[in-house]
Symmetry: C2
Subunit: 335 residues, 2 copies
């Protein structure tokens, strides 16, 4: 199988290389493409040293699968063209996620939706993907009626420069320097910003609506009652979410723990006596989503659950899920 990564030098692109390596994908060819200023850079990978190239039609003519992680502009410009040239695109941008012809896939949840695609398969938003893994188990076994989410999102969700901005603000603060603001609307060090992506007409942000739109599409539940408040916090890596659900059938923490224990992609981290609960510091760099603080809901009683998740938004929220989609494709192609 011939792979290309578009946006290979970015924060998600680099994780895509790592995920391909760690999951031992058999690759006949890996080509790395990026913006003009990165052309010529050499990246060491398990598949050898690879020189970064520009994005070109020739690249897509000679690749079977391209993982796109270069932002919406590049996806809009190149994804359809790549598909026309015979290369299947797994796209990490939000450009095609809401197109009814484009499948939006979390392999643990809706792998069958991949069967019909127009050459483009969409990778979900990071916040959606992290919450969806435990939510799907609740949906399957108890039925979801309402989902209320508040997020605690790391700066790396906004890219490498945003991550560097928090680190620079941190050190400038210690040296008594004035803090520079470039990538965020406001200072992020020792602050939080309840504003991720653009505001929509209903005064929810696009990040919040992505969680709504995408969960509905992935779960094939177009009318499910779901809401989100998305907040950027001064954390480098891994998103966390406080989640309250109402279910159709009675649910207990004990029952759901037994289910989560067997769920691929979930690590239960929930031992209050040992000060053990999901935290971004320990969720970072892990493929699994940490789930904990599991308790009966004080609002919905026997028909409700409250819990807290932390997951690496660069992995399950982006690169890992894209690579898992590629694995699904390969399985299908080789059948």
């Amino acid at each position: 199988m011939r792979f290309a990564i578009v946006g290979a030098t970015g924060i998600v692109g680099r994780e895509m290389i790592t995920c391909l390596e760690k999951r031992h994908l058999k690759i006949d060819q890996l080509r790395l493409a990026a913006s003009p200023r990165s052309i010529g850079k050499i990246i060491k990978t398990a598949y050898g040293k690879i020189t970064v190239e520009g994005i070109s039609e020739e690249l897509f003519k000679n690749s079977d699968i391209a993982l796109f992680a270069a932002g919406s502009e590049i996806s809009l410009k190149w994804a359809k063209k790549a598909a026309t040239l015979g290369c299947i695109v797994i796209d990490n941008s939000s450009c095609f996620r809401y197109d009814p012809k484009v499948p939006l896939i979390i392999p643990e949840i809706n792998p069958k939706d991949i069967f019909k695609h127009p050459g483009i398969i969409a990778n979900p938003n990071c916040t959606t993907a992290i919450a969806a893994i435990p939510l799907w188990e609740i949906e399957k076994h108890f039925g979801l009626k309402k989902i209320i989410i508040s997020t605690y999102q790391a700066v790396s969700g906004a890219g490498k420069e945003a991550m560097e901005e928090l680190e620079k603000q941190t050190c400038d603060y210690c040296q008594g320097k004035k803090l520079e603001i470039k990538n965020f609307q406001h200072q992020i060090l020792f602050n939080l910003i309840p504003h991720i992506d653009k505001f929509q007409e209903n005064n929810y942000t696009k990040e919040e609506m992505k969680v709504v739109w995408e969960t509905r599409k992935i779960f094939s539940r177009p009318n499910i009652s779901i809401s989100c408040t998305a907040v950027r916090v001064p954390i480098l890596r891994a998103h966390s979410e406080s989640i309250v659900v109402e279910t159709k059938k009675k649910i207990t923490p004990k029952k759901i723990r037994e289910i989560f224990k067997k769920t691929s992609g979930i690590k239960i981290v929930d031992d209050p006596k040992k000060n053990s609960y999901p935290m971004p510091l320990f969720a970072s760099q892990n493929f699994e989503v940490q789930v904990g603080r599991i308790r009966q809901s004080l609002i919905f009683g026997d028909y409700g659950l409250e819990f807290f998740v932390s997951g690496d938004q660069l992995l399950k929220g982006a690169a890992l899920n894209a690579v898992q989609i590629a694995e699904l494709l390969i399985k299908r192609i080789s059948k």
Copy 2:
């Protein structure tokens, strides 16, 4: 009126002095008491330079009102004694908040509950107080059915040492040193900890249950459906809360904005086009609670609202509310 502050050198005690000054309370005498290691310290105040003394029966015999901010142990040891000696205690600890004989007061909400007290009046938990100000307006005008809260709590809520710990971790990080953990269960820099105060049998933390118990008591709604997830974040000062409510009557963002505009203690910060919304950095040092991100709930429709608040937990969440209770008492005594 003769005042005493117990725990005057602590993070809340110092804010109490500032609040007395800023609100121009007429004070005939201000005495400052603290633990043995602070005795003899001199603190400059608008009421002159005051030498810190130890806690003694004599102090309470010769004071009319004592503001307690020295933690539960000191409150348990001294508050009842002070009351017996004729000094009214306004207590910031959680010791007496759930005692049915002790009024738990937010002056904007239940000032009349102060009329009957056993010499002790309780000051609410910081997270409760900040949310209660906007929630009460919703309760009064639309009736509350459900309240779902997720918090983003600053480290200063855990005291001066906790605040210094985050600052030290920040600078140690920049110097490549190993980070020391003393006041929290885990590293707090670039992390969050969904664990504030002790875990209860129902696996909610005491901080979370305080919000439940206290809101019910202050609102005189002993059965109101309310839940909270309390999370410590790497922010120095001011707590934030993501709040979703279901109401009995139809509610709209427009209607509630008009009400909030006239509410003492609330500053509406809600202009998405100007990147204006509540944030701890700008809520710090302010008496008012910032309320914003006001929008119709996607879950409860016409009968629901979602919003975000930031408030200085050392002020409205502690020192300011205690001083406002003192003002109420003075008004009553002088009548």
